[in-house]
């Protein structure tokens, strides 16, 4: 194992004890990952994901990526476990078994992606190689430039917030968007998602209700819907066009109802639904 890692050539500067810790942590990561894949109890899976994150964090510490480790510990092991648990409570405690056929595709993708990475190993710079491009290019330049440009001891913060602050802004927007998505789709009080779109003020669905049901006779246009109290509902074109005409149509409506006997019931429910 050791020789495999050193094999890529170049001076490996890591000390063996760190390497042992690295290998131990990665071995545990693999074990936990397999446990997560094999497990059916969602509660255990969520907990194991927390464990996985925590071990990742420990591993990042041995790689001297303290900031990343901190984030991983706070987000992965900390709050996301709680969030996953609260989401799990809404679904089920057990995951349904997945057939072998269904898991074949993802397995293939994983194997291919992994094989591709292994394919690249011979040409990779050695682990911890001081002369690798990543350690000599702009990455190293930050180390020298940040001291005078930004004068912040923590280079990670300097890169994150100043040199690549624009990336961080976009990341913030990603998080903002995630929050906005939750607000839009779930709502904060657990009561979102029951509103239904209506074609001209009526509930129809492409499959449940054929379109002919709303194709009402000549004059019975949905503009005649009584305006809902909150501007909630009917997608009627705003009435500013010709209020008089709208009224006239409203007056005509009863007549139209007679011709289309089936119509009124559907329409009434549609109207009510939209008003409430």
């Amino acid at each position: 194992m050791l020789s495999f890692i050193y094999a890529a050539g170049g001076p490996a500067t890591i000390s063996p004890p760190t390497l042992i810790i690295d290998i131990a942590l990665m071995a545990m990561l693999v074990v936990v990952a397999f446990a997560i894949v094999r497990m059916r109890s969602l509660f255990a899976i969520v907990m194991l994901q927390g464990v996985y994150s925590l071990m990742c964090a420990a591993w990042f510490v041995t790689l001297d990526a303290v900031d990343v480790a901190f984030t991983e510990a706070a987000v992965g092991a900390g709050i996301s476990t709680v969030l996953m648990l609260s989401a799990m409570l809404l679904t089920d405690r057990q995951s349904a078994p997945v057939g072998a056929k269904k898991s074949l595709g993802p397995l293939l993708v994983c194997v291919l992606a992994g094989a591709a990475m292994f394919y690249a190993i011979p040409d990779m710079p050695a682990y911890g190689d001081a002369n690798s491009p990543a350690n000599t290019g702009p990455g190293m330049e930050y180390m020298t430039a940040a001291v005078t440009d930004v004068e912040i001891p923590n280079i990670v913060t300097a890169v994150l917030a100043s040199y690549r602050g624009y990336d961080t802004m976009a990341e913030t927007v990603v998080i903002f968007m995630a929050g906005l998505g939750v607000l839009l789709l779930l709502g904060l009080n657990g009561n979102a998602g029951f509103w239904q779109a209506k074609v001209q003020g009526q509930n129809i669905f492409s499959l449940t209700a054929p379109r002919t049901r709303i194709l009402t006779s000549t004059e019975d246009k949905p503009e005649t819907e009584p305006p809902a109290p909150d501007e909630a509902a009917p997608p009627k074109p705003k009435p500013k066009r010709k209020p008089a005409a709208a009224k006239k149509r409203a007056a005509k409506k009863p007549a139209a109802k007679k011709t289309a006997a089936k119509k009124p019931a559907a329409k009434k429910t549609g109207g009510k639904g939209s008003a409430s």
Binding site: P133, Y166, L180, G181, L183, S217, A260
Partner: protein, 508 residues
């Protein structure tokens, strides 16, 4: 101290690449707080208009003086993030922002019909952020910044698609599928960028290209290429990776579908061009074989496969979605030909198809808005009940088939000549044959709409009920663009030629 007066023309021209992205981001964040949908809509319309103006300024600047480079944060490019606009991405910027304006115009009515009232403000916010994400993806010259904006646009797109749930609950499943596949795509992309960083030590695209040309071909580069192509392929619905697309397009709110169909896959395709030709070395053996086998051959298979699937669809939007996959195949074929003419043809097809598909989806949205039409069997008599909408649909549909006089013909003809020049007669045959398939599936709809009688309810003919004016304006704007650029194709061809010369200039 505050030099507000500095907002001179020169300042605007200099800062436009950033302003075009940041402005919609800020407005998007603001819209989340606005409860009045009219105000939100006005803000969005104003923003998209300003962005279009800015993109026009950028395009003019690029035409006049070549590449624009902007170092964000005042840092020099390899250290900081660079915005880099040249002939390749300026037209895409223009395309996205103009389509944004048109879709916003259309959105006013369609959102009222499809989105819950109190959510409309935040919904416009999400649209704005998706818009900004697409622009950001296109304008940047930094490989990691691409990923970040890819995420911005993707996450907002998932939400936008899922908002179709108030029309059809299947939107939720579709959005979930898209989320899973999109996340996998983004992960692949970022792994690829990581490999590039490992190989070159920098994230700036120009720098990467330089370092790659120095270091030559290595396995790391090859793996980076593979991951990036697969990641972007998922985003642009390359043939075997297109599974998310039909569902997402079929169930999203109608103006979102139109916007996505016209811009999202196009932005991803631009990125593919950018990565394959200007970052990697297109003369390398593995890239040449990837172009031929991965892009061109898969593109052709996709054209056939998706066109056949489109023929057998019953849902009009799904049909057009499969047709989109087929059209992506055309563009990939153009890219895969790999010659100047081929890339030009692919690029023109990118621009033309954006207009065509945008117009088609806008028309479908209006049909749902007025009559609840989603299935092709319901198209019966639509030419009489919604003549103007159906007219726009017909014009765009003809362009999709590639009838002379439309922009679809221009690009397909360019593609045909490029393939013939290369001696790929199988590709020529494929283009002709799939165009016939397009004629079949578009023809089905047109036949039902124009040749059949208007439907009756309880023995009474259904009245003519045209879509509202704002919708008509939007769809006709795109339909007319299809014809105008079809008759007088110099402008798009010129743009595409510039773009191709940027690419091929890099190749040497």
């Amino acid at each position: 101290m505050l030099n507000f007066l500095n907002l001179s023309q020169a300042w605007i021209a200099a800062e436009a690449p950033v302003a075009i992205v940041v402005l919609p981001l800020i407005i998007g964040a603001l819209c989340a707080l606005i409860n009045k949908e009219r105000i939100a809509w006005l803000l969005v319309l104003l923003t998209t208009l300003i962005c279009s103006a800015l993109s026009f300024v950028i395009l003019r600047e690029v035409m006049a003086s070549g590449t624009i480079s902007y170092g964000l944060g005042g840092w020099d490019p390899p250290l900081g993030i660079e915005y880099r606009v040249d002939g390749l991405n300026a037209p895409v910027l223009m395309l996205i922002s103009v389509i944004g304006v048109i879709c916003t115009l259309y959105a006013l009515r369609s959102v009222t019909a499809e989105i819950e009232p109190k959510k409309r403000g935040p919904f416009y916010g999400a649209f704005m952020i998706s818009f900004a994400g697409l622009l950001g993806m296109v304008v940047t010259g930094d490989a990691f910044n691409v990923f970040v904006f890819l995420e911005v646009s993707s996450i907002s797109t998932y939400v936008l698609v899922a908002m179709g749930a108030s029309r059809d609950r299947r939107a939720l499943t579709a959005a979930y599928n898209y989320l899973i596949l999109g996340s996998i795509g983004a992960t692949f992309f970022v792994i690829g960028v990581g490999f590039l960083y490992m190989q070159t030590g920098t994230l700036n695209m120009a720098d990467i290209a330089l370092a790659l040309s120095e270091s030559g071909e290595s396995r790391v580069t090859q793996v980076a290429f593979a991951f990036i192509v697969v990641g972007l392929g998922l985003k642009l619905a390359m043939f075997p990776l297109h599974l998310w697309l039909p569902g997402a397009y079929a169930y999203a709110p109608s103006f979102v579908t139109a916007f996505l169909a016209a811009t999202a896959t196009k932005a991803a395709l631009y990125l593919l061009l950018r990565f394959v030709f200007t970052i990697f070395d297109p003369t390398a053996d593995f890239i040449i074989s990837a172009l031929t086998w991965l892009l061109a051959v898969l593109g052709v298979i996709g054209m056939f496969f998706a066109s056949f699937q489109a023929i057998f669809q019953t849902d009009a939007r799904r049909l057009l979605a499969f047709s989109s996959v087929a059209q992506v195949g055309y563009m990939l074929l153009g890219v895969g030909i790999g010659t100047m003419a081929g890339v030009t043809a692919g690029y023109v097809h990118l621009l033309g198809h954006a207009m065509t598909k945008g117009a088609l989806f806008l028309c479908l949205g209006a049909m749902w808005y007025q009559f609840g039409v989603t299935r092709i069997s319901d198209f019966k008599g639509l030419g009489k009940t919604m003549p103007w909408t159906m007219g726009a649909f017909t014009v765009a549909g003809i362009s999709l088939i590639g009838v002379p006089g439309t922009v679809g013909f221009v690009s397909k003809f360019a593609l045909l000549t490029a393939a013939a020049d290369k001696g790929w007669w199988w590709a020529v045959a494929a283009i002709v044959f799939t165009s016939i398939l397009a004629l079949v599936y578009i023809g089905r709809m047109l036949e039902a709409a124009w040749l059949q009688d208007r439907p009756q309810v309880d023995g009474v003919d259904v009245a003519t009920r045209e879509a509202p004016a704002s919708m008509l304006v939007a769809m006709w704007a795109l339909a007319i663009a299809c014809v105008v650029f079809g008759v007088n194709a110099t402008w798009p061809l010129e743009l595409a030629n510039d773009a191709a010369s940027v690419i091929m200039g890099g190749a040497g």
